[in-house]
Amino acid sequence: MKKSIFKRVICAALAGVMMLGAFGCSEKEESSSSSEVDSLQKVLDSGKFILGLDATFVPMGYTDENDEIVGFDIDVAEEVCKRMGVELVKQPINWDTKEEDLEAGRIDCIWNGMSVNAERAERMNLSEPYMNNKMVFVVPADSTAQSMADLEGCVIGVQNGSTAQTILAESDIASTITESASATNDEALMQMESGLVDAVFLDVIVADYKIVTGGKDYRVLSDGLAEEEYAIGFRKEDQELRDEVQKILGEMKADGTLAEISTKWFGSDITTVK
């Protein structure tokens, strides 16, 4: 009697293991990405435009109190999708593996305040830049530092893996300062508040938003480093889709919708779409 019970247990276990193996295999037919198919038509056919984002980049695209993904980029993308007649799907991804997600076809674009650099231009089909960004130093309001020169010998916080980190490391003051890398800009800013670092090097967009909307007691040093631009990343072969989004952005700039959204988030129109 005992034996047969055990046999049943073993059977159930094996069935479980086999089920696990078969789990993913029962899903519906795929729509593989082949370059002959018009990428724009594919999005229109599916009725969905899947936007990949990190969902932690305030104010471009982030998760709010109610677990909704909001932000400047999201508002613009919503409007673009409305004009394309498709539904916007916001797909959170891990920023470190964004290129893999894009190439694997999980998402149709990366649209999350992504800075343009040579490696990204190489791997993705980038839109025209839609916003300018500058890397600046932020210090506590009561700091004595007035310009970059005053930061000599200071500890500077920066987000690990960001373009800010690269720019800082290549800058002239790199040898005179100590870099302290944090996982996020916010951690770096918190370290500054608790006195662990003297200044934080980050995107002016984020810095301004923290000071204006967040009400933080920081000050931005007047002289920043390297200008850079934000763009939307598409798959290399998705030329039609990229062009369509670009065209709609142009129309939105012309009819003032873009300025309206920009004013809502930043207080003025800081977009650079032509």
């Binding site: 094996l14 789990f23 993913g24 295999c25 899903e27 037919e29 998760t63 109190e65 933080k216």
Partner: protein, 234 residues
Amino acid sequence: MTSQEILNVVKLLLEYLVPTLKVFGFTLLFSVPLGMVVALLKMCKFKPISYLTNIYILIMRGTPLMLQVIVAFYAVPMLKNGEGTPQFIVNLLNNIDIKDENYMFNAVLVAFVLNYAAYFAEIFRGGIESIPKGQYEAAAALSMTRTQTFFKIILPQVVKRVVPASANEVITLVKDTSLANVVAYAEITLKAKQQMQLYSSLVPLFIAGAFYFVLATVLTIVFSYVEKKLDYYK
């Protein structure tokens, strides 16, 4: 953060406790039986099987679970788009829809189950091998068959010996579920990280920490009860 904001975060994280527990529960459900099978395969007298099992355990225990989650998640699209992939594999993989909402969970689960099965297998093997040879001989002297010996004599002792070590693994598993956030699986750690950016505060992470702590405490109590219940053969 104000207490209202903290309450908000707690409520939000409570919602995402479900996906966390889903990974935890299903991993246990599949990895414990699989671990038993792997343990038996490793002790198999036919050497090639034993060697292959060893290699599997070596890989699973020798690489970070975080990496395994990434591999499980991207293996399907990468093989599908890879140039050297044999056609029959591509055809097989074409049945998997990576945009399906369950795909992420399944991929995460595959990584967790394969990883934890390797650890459980070693625990179970240790338990089985800890039983003195004399007991097998005594059972044989009583003319019990090998199956009878295993299920009536050996297994009841093994079960109670492997519980403390398994409890260790299970508690580790609760906290390891947080690794699923590496592929943006929406569970409490990912949500806590997102809220952290929103409030510019570390508090959401601490709240998530409290969630894990409570879960681990509950499991600790459960296992100490189980150990008491298994307090036979004294």
